[in-house]
Symmetry: D3
Subunit: 245 residues, 6 copies
């Protein structure tokens, strides 16, 4: 364990953390957090179409390629630690063993906040199952009778990062984070994802437009912050504060 503040991102497939919260990761690393990314799978079967179109491709080679891309992206973001749980994808194998592994990681990291997918995703059940899994593991990590003697988890916020088609996923951001200072890192990480080049500009557009939303919600033309790139998140749990913002 560390004295630093920590955070934990749970990503269903290898690339999700890049598009959806690369900015938050880079920014908090710069602020001194240690961010751990747990990739439940490499997205080897379901999110590697470009690789599979190559002659003679095998599952192992896809996984290697995806692992390398994700590792490079993590490096670009300054991620403290990236873990690959290799649980398979489409669908993920989220059984009791996987649960044990994830609870161990949560207890080891003791995150100030956690991050995962939207609650609903009819396009990609791996995504919503991951969120359910994250809530389940958070609960177990809070249990005093689970591996007694270990440090018990507090009550970290669970942020849901932005899914691909927000409205279809019934996802509603209630916080926007200014990622302008680390945009170059996020774009660099995005460009590590060689297999999904069709999404580079998509997520750049998203970041620019979320920047507009940040400006609007911080005051617009009457005092809004000059944010150029932002990310949106949905908090699952209520906040506890000493002053209203």
């Amino acid at each position: 364990m560390t004295d630093k503040k920590t955070a934990l991102v749970i990503s269903a497939h290898a690339a999700d953390f890049v598009w959806r919260c690369g900015g938050a990761i880079a920014l908090h690393q710069e602020k001194g957090y240690e961010v751990t990314v747990a990739c439940l799978s490499y997205g080897e079967r379901g999110e590697s179409a470009k690789l599979w179109k190559q002659e003679g491709m095998t599952l192992e080679r896809v996984k290697e390629a995806r692992r390398e891309e994700a590792s490079n992206a993590a490096t670009a973001l300054g991620v403290n630690d990236i873990r690959f749980l290799d649980l398979g994808d489409y669908p993920l194998r989220l059984d009791r063993d996987a649960q044990e592994q994830m609870v161990d990681i949560i207890r080891e990291v003791q995150p100030k906040w956690m991050m995962s997918h939207s609650k609903w995703d009819p396009y990609n059940t791996d995504h919503m199952n991951t969120t359910q899994f994250a809530l389940e593991c958070r609960m177990i990590a809070q249990a005093w009778g689970h591996n007694p003697g270990q440090k018990v988890l507090g009550a970290p916020q669970l942020y849901l990062f932005e899914p691909h088609q927000t409205e279809q996923m019934e996802w509603k951001p209630n916080v926007f984070l200014d990622i302008t200072p680390v945009w170059d890192k996020k774009r660099a990480a995005i460009e590590c994802m060689q297999g999904q080049e069709h999404l580079w500009d998509f997520y750049t557009n998203v970041a620019e437009n979320r920047g507009n939303h940040f400006r609007r919600n911080s005051g617009g033309q009457a005092g809004g912050r000059n944010c150029r790139y932002a990310e949106g998140f949905q908090m699952i749990f209520p906040q506890t504060v000493d002053e209203l913002a």
Copy 2:
């Protein structure tokens, strides 16, 4: 205008601000905010049953009594400024004149945040109409072409304070505020409401139980803050931040 941070509470009836956000008011006054309370009515017809049960009661006498109670409560909370718009109640008269008055107040106060009722209230349409009115006035106050030359409003958060039967009002708090340091002031303000003694303990119970929710959400038995009294609020607009809490 002032250099201090300011806040504006829009209360449908004279007593609403006491039960629902008296703690937030007192706390922010202590932190150096100047809080303005705008009471749209005295609750003279609909929330003064005890007075009306007295022989020979008149509307004017009810209004006077309610005004005095509300003023005393405001004093107990340290409110900077309380305004009575006297728009009638059950139902409120929320016409263009009322709108003009409220927009003037908003522009004058330039609140860092605003506060009002829940979006839905089948028991009390004054409450939900007030929230609609608050949103409408907020929008007008942001218009550069409304009274050109005046300082235009930015984008203050609108907090919805706790209604009487939260679940029936489809109200969901996404922030809890620790009001332990000012609880004595809130209880004193509550006791100013002589006509509604049946609610004193009700809202004390609410404050205690929201304190429990604060403790849970700040870490529970594994590091939660020892908050004894809290208030809950629902934010309408997304937050804009530089770091995730």
Copy 3:
């Protein structure tokens, strides 16, 4: 006022009470209730297509014809009292005068329960505006300071009766009422609506299928009641009971 139990149905247009709660009316009349029906309009402009297709039709003649149909239907149902407020339709004129009239009726009737339309109806804004109006008037009738000296209203349930396309109106019944004993009366009332013959079988089908829902929810093939016709209603307010059903 009366010693009998009473009920009040608020119907936007002349025929609504027939299709949507004719069974409930007839049944409760048989049980000794005095049911008052308040028709806010005759549906003269918007729900009288057949009449308007006749040569030389006038608004007054349509209103007369509709009034007669509705009165006949009320008689068929055994309605105690039917009132026509003649507020115009498409759209209804729901101003302060209309409010005063309706509050007077509510206070006079002192209903054990009230009934009106669904909360949302994008096809027919008169319907949803009537529900809003009903809630507003219920609130005023509860105000001790409204016409002091009159008997103040308690807290009658507001039942929402079945709209034409239930799913589009976001209406969800939480109670089914067995109207088998009075089905003949309802069908007779339905047949009074000469101008809307295309709906006779529609609402007979509805009653039969709600009968099936009644059977299912009372036990189905393992003990369900042999209900043949039913009506569904959505309660707005929670019930208060001494025993769980």
Copy 4:
């Protein structure tokens, strides 16, 4: 089987039935119901923090202690029968065996009504999984082809009892039960839960405030019942009635 009316409470952890529906249990026992409580687990890992903080604690000792507390509470409430399924907690093991056990209990009890947790609970997935489990088992118990020859289940209501943070669980009560006559029993049962003393006053506050809600919804200052303590429940299924309340 019995000639008496029966009810079945399905409680994820040993203490849930006490806080959430102890009043309903005691009240219906007094009315002659036989209430069975099925505790799926002892809450031994996740809801026994106080015990785990003791030196040298073991899982078996925690389970014993929790079982004794729950049994004492059940006695205080006059529960007819309490069953401990010992399925483990955080997370519950809700497999086919558990299903078979629960279906057997349901068929044996033939409850007039069932009771369980809220549909959604991001803090505690055991709770929402229990509700899903209850619905699944209710469905199986209704199947004529499951253990043919046994008495098939009818269509008992499923009441959802009050969760810890109602708004976060998207729980909305649609019935309030007056538990004033049995409040002393509920408080006594609450005090059996030695390990969770921090919740005694919390749930006393809840009962008092639900009493206020009962008074409001039964007429308020114009005829409301003088209920002092109440519990709220959300019905999943529509009711079937012969008269509107």
Copy 5:
């Protein structure tokens, strides 16, 4: 594979496809589609009460009888292909094997559209679990790394057909299909279900009333189509079009 357009209906129990989308099946077959129906179970335990009431009935005999009824109904509708997966019912066994089987069928059929149950069904968890299963299998069938070399699935719409109590299932149709031309076939198929005669008229009523909804939504008395029988469906995914309808 075929050059024809294809469709795939996933039915939890043997009879579901008849009541809920028999018209859509017959109509599209007439239009030259090849429609495949996949029955996950025979509904042998949970939807065969009439058979189980016969002396000496066995599971195998119920399955045979149900299979025959369903096959006859499929013939009446002109179904191209009906598959019985025999996964058991109340509850369905929706494990990895079942998933593999269903993904194979989806890939083989390459449906232009798919069809299944509502997302929520508290009465019948088999129904909602089937929808979840359909989404999961659709996702896997889209994965380039699943059985590489096979033709990958595109993005077929998933239509949710009408459940038994629409409002309780939170099902909202956003498209109505005119089935007047094939009504006789649907009624004939319905009459194949000898064990559920109590539902014949129920679903005839549904078809007639949905016909009314079709007329209303296509123009009503001012130009609406003279549709006599219709079925309603809820689309899960957005449509992609070149012209607005």
Copy 6:
């Protein structure tokens, strides 16, 4: 009236139709529709900040400037007809006169489809009030008794176009329209809005990303259409079809 197919866009402020549905307008004009745009206001007070920052600006000059911009944009899109109702903005004056005007336009145009804002918009109550107004006017235009003798309106779909912050407005597109063929026209129209240059790239990003959503929903990498720009819409009413798409 015309033999051509027609459409009607109801835009709260002068520029809304450009950002939100400029592509749909241009595309349908190219397909031979006659599209009428009704601008309820010029957005003169609330959406003309840049103009108001100029020295000595007056309301009339702002209106003129905004009218000219909107007219130019309409020309760029090939709009058949643009009407300015000049009802004031922030807030709109949506009284009975305005209603009469709008109903006249609807009856004159006899639109095959209508288009307006999202149902909810806490930032801009003009937007949601416009949608309510559109529904109300649609209903009146359908009334046979409103100006008898005029051609009565059928049941045109009401499309809700994309608001500025979709998730906050609870807007969910259920149809995507490929506007690639007319993108140049839309961009040209956008560039007519000199006062809101900060939004040009924002809405270009939106169009590109909606193009991605179109591709995904039409088949993605396995057969999706190569759409580059799209617009999303939410249908309020169910569709009526003869074949499922």
